[in-house]
Symmetry: C2
Subunit: 88 residues, 2 copies
Amino acid sequence: MYLLVVYDVGDTTRLNKVHKFLKTYLHWRQNSVFEGEISRAQFNAIKTGLKEIIDETSDSIMIYRLPNKNYLSIDIIGIEKNPIEFIL
Amino acid sequence: MYLLVVYDVGDTTRLNKVHKFLKTYLHWRQNSVFEGEISRAQFNAIKTGLKEIIDETSDSIMIYRLPNKNYLSIDIIGIEKNPIEFIL
């Protein structure tokens, strides 16, 4: 499956933890945006891990999930902060 | 088509302009994240409008585009800042 994760975390310590955690599974694309192809097991690990890091009463993480990347087109306006071609 | 727009805009004036502009086409979901169903004409208008607002040498806007919302599943961890059910 293909994931796109965007997060809104208020506290800097938790923010850094979320960034560091997501980096182990996905590609950083932009400020508070990660994406990448993962397995079902990794998807579950991401959800569990994020729940442990964030404050569920104030932070917000949205995980957009697609069957695969084929359905997705990406347009970038302005600069591309971290082109995915360089990572894969 | 279904759009998901995430932006990383450094300057507060431009940031507010981007937010205000996107609000006329899409639903605000989270800090710097908008989404919604739009037409091809609206998609072109969004791209043109954003190019006029941002500084293309420093800001970054990513537009993720899907044929429709059917392929998309959304999981939210923590709080849901602006549930789409309340807007539609």
